[in-house]
């Protein structure tokens, strides 16, 4: 089932949290929803799940508009909220049975689904524990299990891996990948690697606006143009001299005799630098092309969003 967001705007008092954003997620697609804290990720998700009303614009899940048929939408959406609210004084299986009951499951069907979810989310040994005694990673699994109990067609996960340790992060990512077969999944995160690990399409949002909606591979290419090189000389050299070179666009001083250079037109300028140093008879101590880091893509997109990005 598809998810369509049309000109969604949300205003809190005077603050614009979402500024007419639109995007759509096709049936069976997994999309990463990326942005810094406060960008509007959670707001978008809360509106999509019917928890918050929008100021204007609407969300369509399958054939239903959230504002018109909230109950129908809630029936087909599974949602893991950002802080993973759970009834801490309930037992794991009790909580899952309760949530299943809210979706109208009962009797053997409910029992079967609860058993299935406990197994799928790796909660077999924890099912008879109270949720308050569980670690954060296991609570997150309970949160996922309750979001999946009614076999939702659309899954909305708000920062499913935040606050987990590296092992738990890997496990939860694996779990998300497993359960996302045949489902439309939108998950938010502020970690780029997460998108790479789970899916290939990414929507980047910043200050309530969508700044990128593309395949991750394409985003990495955008960044490629401004990839720099790091160079270290043995003796001191004037920055002005480097700047005056025809193939250098930008020079940043990184440390003693250490510079970051960005080539004109995004070309690789390492051969030129090598030639330059041998002509000037200055020894090169280091010459390295910067790795295209996912973080730098993220920073690039969310710090100085250009209108055409």
């Amino acid at each position: 089932m598809s998810l369509e967001i049309n000109h969604l705007t949300k205003v809190y008092g005077k603050q614009i949290a979402l500024n007419a954003i639109s995007f759509s997620v096709q049936d069976g697609e997994i999309v990463g929803f990326l942005g810094p804290n406060g960008a509007g990720k959670s707001t978008t998700m809360k509106i999509s799940t019917g928890f918050l009303p929008s100021t204007s614009g609407d969300v369509k899940v399958g054939d239903f508009l959230v504002s018109e048929r909230p109950l129908q939408v809630k029936r087909i959406v599974g949602y893991l909220a950002e802080h993973n609210p759970l009834y801490l004084d309930m037992y794991v299986h009790e909580h899952l049975r309760f949530v299943g009951g809210l979706y109208g499951l009962s009797g053997s069907r409910l029992k079967h689904r609860v058993g299935e979810m406990i197994e799928l989310c790796g909660l077999t040994h924890e099912q008879n524990k109270k949720i308050e005694t569980l670690s954060k990673g296991y609570r997150q699994r309970v949160g996922l299990a309750q979001a999946l109990i009614h076999d939702p067609k659309v899954l909305i996960l708000d920062e499913p891996t935040s606050g987990l340790d590296p092992n738990q992060i890997v496990e939860i990512r694996k779990l998300i990948k497993e359960i996302s077969v045949n489902k439309t999944v939108v998950f938010s995160t502020h970690i780029m690697q997460e998108v790479q690990a789970i899916c290939d399409r990414v929507i980047v949002i910043n200050k309530g606006e969508i700044v990128a909606d593309d395949k991750l591979v394409n985003l990495l290419q955008i960044e490629n143009k401004s990839t720099g090189i790091e160079v270290e000389f043995e003796t001191s050299i004037e920055m002005e001299e480097l700047r005056s070179l025809p193939f250098v666009k930008e020079v940043v001083l990184l440390g003693r005799n250490k510079f970051r250079l960005i080539g004109e037109g995004g070309i690789d300028i390492r051969p030129e630098i090598f030639k330059f140093s041998s002509e000037r008879k200055i020894s090169l101590l280091g010459l390295k092309k910067e790795e295209v880091s996912l973080e730098s893509v993220f920073r690039e997109l969310t710090h100085a969003p250009s209108p055409d990005a």
């Binding site: 009303p53 109950l71 809630k74 959406v77 909220a81 802080h83 004084d89 309760f98 809210l102």
Partner: protein, 241 residues
């Protein structure tokens, strides 16, 4: 609605709240009815249950808010309201489910006092010399009053995320509704409006049912106050953002 009701009610049973409320109510009322000389039926010498029906509401003023204070306040604080409101439930499902669970607990708390009635029937001289219609009317009044208190308590809990605030507000409103309005009505400034103010209070209608007089106006009063409080709660809860 049913899953919420079940969850709330098992919540009471699992968290000792239910047992505390039942134990405190029965101990308090038991002492007043049978032990304390000023109010004891045995000292008084008349086979009636006035002590239960006149003191019971005051005990409930403190106990019902204790039952209801966490209903919405805790969910707000823990963020679990987001869990409920993203499930296919209407606002009414949630409000009514919570109300009925609290109300059922109040009714269960009152049930054991039926033993007092049996004792008094046996103690009467001649045996059975009790104003049974009066007792039945009083019980109906007490249960109705429990419903009003529950709805007030649930409403108080819906307007704050602090359980202590919810408790204090609920106890205060219950008191004002029960006897505060009655006492206010006797102020000379209200003059002929006094009766109207008196009729807004619970005590006026409660005393009327206690006489064994089942007046549809009294029942309408109880049901409307309960309903109105639940409507306010629903309005408040639907603005959960």
């Amino acid at each position: 609605m049913l899953p919420i009701f079940k969850k709330e009610f098992t919540g009471f049973l699992n968290s000792l709240i239910a047992y505390m409320v039942i134990a405190v109510f029965l101990t308090g009322i038991g002492l007043l009815m049978w032990v304390f000389p000023e109010t004891s039926v045995l000292e008084y010498g008349f086979a009636d249950m006035d002590t239960l029906f006149s003191m019971g509401p005051y005990v409930l003023i403190f106990l019902v808010p204790a039952i209801t204070m966490k209903s919405f306040a805790e969910e707000k604080k823990l963020g679990t309201l987001e869990l409920l409101f993203t499930k296919p439930l209407s606002d009414w499902d949630i409000v009514i489910g919570k109300f009925l669970a609290a109300f059922l607990l109040v009714v269960i708390t009152l049930l054991p006092t039926l033993v007092y009635y049996l004792s008094i029937v046996k103690l009467g001289n001649p045996v059975g010399n009790v104003d049974t219609p009066g007792v039945v009317g009083s019980y109906i009044g007490l249960v109705m009053l429990g419903g009003v208190f529950c709805s007030i308590g649930i409403f108080a809990s819906s307007i704050t995320s602090n359980q202590i605030v919810a408790f204090i507000l609920a106890a205060f409103f219950c008191f004002i509704f029960y006897s505060g309005l009655e006492s206010l009505s006797s102020l000379p400034i209200f003059g002929s409006q006094g009766l109207l103010i008196k009729q807004l209070g619970i005590l006026y209608h409660y005393e009327s049912t206690s006489k064994g007089l089942m007046d549809s106006r009294d029942l309408t009063y109880f049901l409307s106050v309960t309903g109105l409080m639940l409507v306010f709660t629903k309005i408040k809860v639907s603005q959960h953002y």
